[in-house]
Symmetry: C2
Subunit: 304 residues, 2 copies
C-alpha cells in the first residue's frame, strides 16, 4: 500500500512554547509532499527533518492568522535561494497572494520557479486539487477570520490482481490493467472468466481531514464522515469551553464529540494553548468521549 502519512511540524496555538512549534503538517501521499499551514519557523523544522523542500509541490494555508502562515514567505524565499525550478502551488485566502507578493517585491526577489496562488473560498466545499489518485477539498470552518479546512481523500482504488487465479487461467500480462479496472477475461476457448474470480478487493480509499482553527460545528460531520484520520484543533481543555467559544476555538471534548459523531477512525488533537504544560488531562478528557484520540507531537509521523 502506498504511503499516506502526516508529519506534525507544529502543535502549538498562537504562541509557541519551548518544544511546541507553530502549526504546520506535512502530508506524504505516494511520495508527493503537501504542506498544510506554515507558521513561522516551518522551514527550519523541514530542514531539521531533512525534508528536501523541492519535493513539496503544493502548500495549503487555512487562514490568515500569523501562526498559520508567517513562515510561508521565508520558505518561498529559501526555495528560491536553493535554486528551485519546480512549480509551486499555494492555496489560501485571496489576500495571501498580495501579502507574499508585496514582500517578494520589496525584497527585490523574482522567484526562479513558477509560483501560482489559488484562492480558497470559505463559503462552500470545493475540490481544489485532483491528480487522479488523490483529491484535496477545502471546506468552511468558522473562526474569527475566513478559514477553511482541507480534506485529503484517495480516489477509488483499482482492484488487486489475484495472482493465483491469473496463473490458473493463464492471463497474459497485457490484460492486467483492464482486469484491475474491473473487466472480465475471455480465454482462447471463449470461456468468460468473471472479474470477481481474477481480483481481490481494492484497498480502502484513505482520507485525512484537517480542521484548524474552528468552533465546534456539526456541519462538519458529513464532510469528515468516516475519515481515517481527523485532525481537529483543541486549543483549550473543556473547563475553558466559554473562553473557547469567545475566541472561536474548540475544546478537546468538542473535538472528540465531532470525531465520535462523524465515525472517524482516529482523532489527532493539536493547536494547544501555551497554558498547557503537559497534555495528559487534555487527552484523557477527549478519550472518555472518543477513545481513538491522540495528541499531536512535533516530529511524529502518523500513518493513515
Amino acid at each position: 500500500m502506498k504511503e499516506f502519512s502526516v508529519t506534525v511540524l507544529g502543535s502549538s496555538a498562537a504562541i509557541a512554547t519551548e518544544g511546541r512549534n507553530l502549526t504546520s503538517h506535512l502530508v506524504n501521499h505516494s511520495n508527493n509532499l503537501y504542506l498544510i499551514d506554515c507558521g513561522e519557523g516551518t522551514q527550519f523544522r523541514l530542514q531539521h527533518l531533512k525534508v528536501k523542500t523541492n519535493r513539496i509541490k503544493n502548500i495549503f494555508i487555512s487562514h490568515l492568522h500569523g501562526d498559520h502562515f508567517f513562515g510561508l514567505v521565508g520558505l518561498i524565499s529559501t526555495m528560491h535561494l536553493l535554486h528551485r525550478t519546480e512549480p509551486l502551488h499555494v492555496y489560501g485566502p485571496p489576500l495571501l497572494k498580495d501579502i507574499i507578493e508585496l514582500q517578494l517585491e520589496s525584497t527585490a526577489t523574482v522567484v526562479g520557479y513558477p509560483l501560482t496562488f489559488h484562492s480558497t473560498q470559505d463559503d462552500h466545499e470545493e475540490v481544489i486539487y485532483d491528480d487522479g489518485r488523490l483529491t484535496i477539498s477545502s471546506f468552511p470552518l468558522t473562526h474569527r477570520v475566513p478559514t477553511t479546512g482541507f480534506l485529503f481523500r484517495e480516489k477509488e482504488q483499482p482492484f488487486h490482481i489475484n495472482k493465483e487465479a491469473i496463473d490458473k487461467y493463464g492471463v497474459p500480462v497485457v490484460y492486467y490493467a483492464a482486469i484491475r479496472g474491473g473487466k472480465d477475461f475471455i480465454t482462447d476457448d471463449g470461456e468468460v472468466i468473471p472479474n470477481s474470480l481474477l481480483t481481490l478487493p481494492p484497498d480502502h480509499p484513505r482520507s485525512y481531514a484537517y480542521c484548524s482553527d474552528t468552533i465546534y460545528k456539526e456541519e462538519l460531520i458529513p464532510i469528515v464522515e468516516g475519515c481515517d484520520l481527523l485532525y481537529h484543533e483543541s486549543t483549550f481543555a473543556h473547563e475553558l469551553v466559554e473562553t473557547a467559544a469567545l475566541k472561536m476555538h474548540a475544546t478537546n471534548v468538542q473535538a472528540a464529540t465531532l470525531a465520535y459523531k462523524a465515525h472517524v477512525k482516529r482523532l489527532m488533537l493539536g493547536h494547544f494553548s501555551a497554558r498547557y504544560k503537559d497534555l495528559l488531562l487534555m487527552l484523557d478528557e477527549a478519550r472518555a468521549v472518543f477513545p481513538e484520540t491522540f495528541t499531536a507531537v512535533e516530529g511524529q509521523v502518523v500513518f493513515i
Copy 2:
C-alpha cells in the same frame, strides 16, 4: 560601569543551517534592550534566552532582505498576544511599514500597544535615536537593496567623584551632580577646590557599529573609526572575493581590513554563508589582517 553588550541571536547568511540562525543582534545598554534585524525565528531565540520581549523598546532593521526582517511581524504579533502595552518603535526602510501593516490588517490584528515606524534613509548618516545617554545613528551601506548600518554610541560620560578628595574637603552630597558635571567647589572659607582635584576621569564613551550587509567600502572608516566593537558581515572567505563583489557582500579579509584601517578595538564577523561548515579558516585569515577578530556564535554575549 553600566552594561553595554551584544547578544548574537543569529550568525547565518540568507539560508539558515542547523546551529546558525538568521541574523539578529540584541543590544543591552543600561538595561535597555534594542534589537537589530529580526530574521525568521528571532522570537523563538528570544524565548529560548528567556528575554522578556516587553523590555525591547526599539527595533532596527538594516534592509528588506527576508533573512533580516521576516521574523518582525511574528514578534510584533506575539508582543500583542502577550498583552504588551509598552510603546514599540521600529526603524527601517520606508516600505517596512507597509509590509507589516498589510499583514496586521489581513490578520485582523489591531495591536494593543503604540507601534511607531520610523523611516531610515540610505543616502546619509543620521542620528535616529537619542535618550540622553546613548545615540543611535543609521549610515549608508552598499548592498543590492537600500541598506543602512547602525552605530550605537554612548554620550560623553560625566566625571567620577573622587571619594577620598570629597571627604577631605567635606563636600556636601548636594554638590555631587555639579562636580560630576565639571564644576569646582568653594569651601565655606572661600577656597576654590578645582574640579580636577575632586574627580576622576569619566568612563570612555563606548560604541558599537553594526555593518550588515555590504560590500567593502572605505567610506565607512570615518563612521566606525575607533569604535569598541565593529560587527561586519563576512559572508564569504577571501577566495570567493569575486563572488562577494557580485552579490554585494564582503569577505573576512575585507572586514578585517576595514577594522584595521578604522582602528576599531575588536571585530566580530558574522552572516556566514551556509557553505562554511566550520569557521576556523574564516577566522584565521581575518586575524592575519586584524588580530582582535572573533566569529559570532549564537547565544554569545559580547561585552563592550
